[in-house]
């Protein structure tokens, strides 16, 4: 098998997505931690367009954008499939992956707010997104695809682990057992899957890292904005 490398960063949920997919399928790979404040020549060579992580390098060929990487991994290594067999169920899974791409970024916009009208607006958007997941995506299933985790879980990992950190730093509570019972249960179930549990960034370290990042962002943004 040709060599597989993953260039990523430990706090990034997008980097984690690729790790989960590779580990689920039992694909051996070399992990390279990137310093985004001092981008390596390798990253700039493999992803000259966006200069972002994650980048998967397979047999020397780079693939980037985590959603594209997930589909690539599924295409090349069909064992332990991330997508269901049935064509309609596949379409449903892909719909939710696309929904994640379009809507979940609002939690990161929330991360950047400090209060007032802006925070209220983004908070509302985030709640609407979660409501759609609760009522239409998950409903009463354990995972999006049924009993096992799949591509949708990988796409929504941010909501299971990183959102809690965002809630702590911003001082809001979005997912609660009485407001989003299914989603609340899902975050617990997801975090307890052994493969996922072993491959999540340490919560305390993550909190510290993102607190620093948020403080830097807010300071550079200046008061009254």
């Amino acid at each position: 098998m040709e060599e597989v490398k993953l260039i990523g960063t430990w706090p990034s949920p997008f980097s984690s997505r690729v790790i989960w997919a590779l580990k689920l399928k039992g694909i051996p790979y070399e992990y390279i931690e990137e310093d985004l404040s001092n981008k390596s020549p390798m990253l700039l060579q493999y992803n000259p367009l966006h200069k972002k992580i994650p980048v998967l390098v397979h047999g020397g060929k780079p693939i980037y954008e985590s959603a594209v990487i997930l589909q690539y991994i599924e295409d090349v290594w069909p064992q332990n499939p991330l997508l269901p067999n049935d064509p309609h169920e596949r379409a449903v899974a892909r719909f939710w992956v696309q929904f994640a791409e379009n809507k979940v970024p609002c939690i990161w916009r929330l991360f950047r707010t400090t209060g007032g009208e802006e925070q209220e607006k983004v908070n509302k958007e985030s709640m609407e997104m979660l409501r759609a997941l609760e009522e239409h995506g998950l409903r009463d299933k354990k995972f999006f695809g049924g009993d096992k985790i799949g591509i949708a879980e990988i796409a929504y990992g941010q909501v299971a682990h990183w959102l809690e950190m965002i809630e702590d730093l911003v001082g809001v509570k979005l997912i609660e057992a009485h407001t989003f019972p299914y989603l609340h249960a899902w975050t617990k179930n997801f975090n307890q899957v052994p493969l996922i549990k072993e491959n999540l960034p340490d919560y305390g370290e993550m909190l510290m890292y993102f607190k620093r990042a948020r403080d830097n962002f807010l300071t550079s943004r200046g008061p009254g904005m």
């Binding site: 367009l49 954008e65 594209v68 589909q71 295409d75 596949r90 379409a91 892909r94 719909f95 696309q98």
Partner: protein
């Protein structure tokens, strides 16, 4: 032998997202029933089939709904394997096509819409961004085909061709309304030759609304964004846009 199960498409004639699905269905030779939706007065069926977004296009097959144009295209490709493939076989080429399709959707389309919806300095800035993205796309297309010519005809349009077609098939109308030429053969020779090629494909030609109607659509989008309080204008133009309907398609007598 598999039964040809009923296929329905809920759409709106001016929607480029719907056009993508129609092109794919026609390329694959899949017979379907088209249902025109009034987006101001959405049907119960639409709300039932797409409860999350309440938008078109929605494909109904075997009584089940599929939403989001890219998801629909992948579904079509996987379900009807007889017609030409919409994605290449090789996984690495597939990844590149998916990447550039996502680029067209997220980075180009969004910025072109920004140009449509803004004026003055904001518009100038948005125009500059579109040209930057077009330059990246031109390079990307070169890399994608690595010197081979990509011959576009009704037999081999793929998802990237379809997405580009749905965005720039209307480039002449965009030029007329916005006063900016995005598809410039001098700046973007490869992209321009692609756009010219796919607007000549019979299937696309049959689905493309005529130039005058597209101009009205872009003018309407622009007015709606720049004068949101001019409700009368919006209603009048909205009624006009809706009334134009699909009368330009060859299977009507209008």
């Amino acid at each position: 032998m598999a039964e040809e199960n009923k296929v329905k498409l809920h759409g709106m004639w001016a929607s480029p997202y719907v056009q993508r699905v129609e092109i794919a269905l026609k390329i694959k030779g899949i017979p379907y029933e088209y249902v025109e939706e009034d987006l101001v007065n959405k049907s119960q069926l639409l709300l039932q089939y797409n409860p999350v977004h309440k938008k078109v296009p929605v494909l109904i097959h075997n009584g089940k709904s599929i939403c989001e144009s890219l998801v629909i295209l992948e579904y079509i490709d996987e379900t009807w394997k007889n017609g030409p493939p919409l994605l290449p076989q090789d996984p690495y080429k597939r990844a590149k096509v998916r990447f550039w399709t996502s680029f067209v959707e997220k980075e180009l389309l969004e910025n072109v819409l920004l140009v449509v919806r803004s004026e003055g300095e904001a518009q100038e800035k948005a125009i500059k961004v579109v040209f930057e993205k077009l330059k990246l796309l031109e390079e990307g297309l070169k890399d994608l085909f690595q010197g081979e010519t990509h011959h576009i005809d009704g037999e081999n349009m793929g998802i990237l061709d379809i997405f580009l077609c749905s965005l720039f098939g209307a480039h002449k109308a965009q030029e007329e309304v916005l006063g900016v030429k995005f598809i410039d053969p001098e700046k973007f020779p490869l992209l321009s030759s692609w756009v010219t090629a796919f607007t000549e494909v019979a299937v696309v030609k049959a689905l493309q609304p005529p130039h005058e109607k597209l101009v009205v659509v872009y003018q309407f989008l622009r007015q709606k964004a720049l004068q949101p309080s001019a409700a009368e204008v919006e209603v009048k133009e909205g009624v006009y846009v809706r009334s134009l309907s699909r009368s330009h398609l060859p299977d009507t007598l209008i």
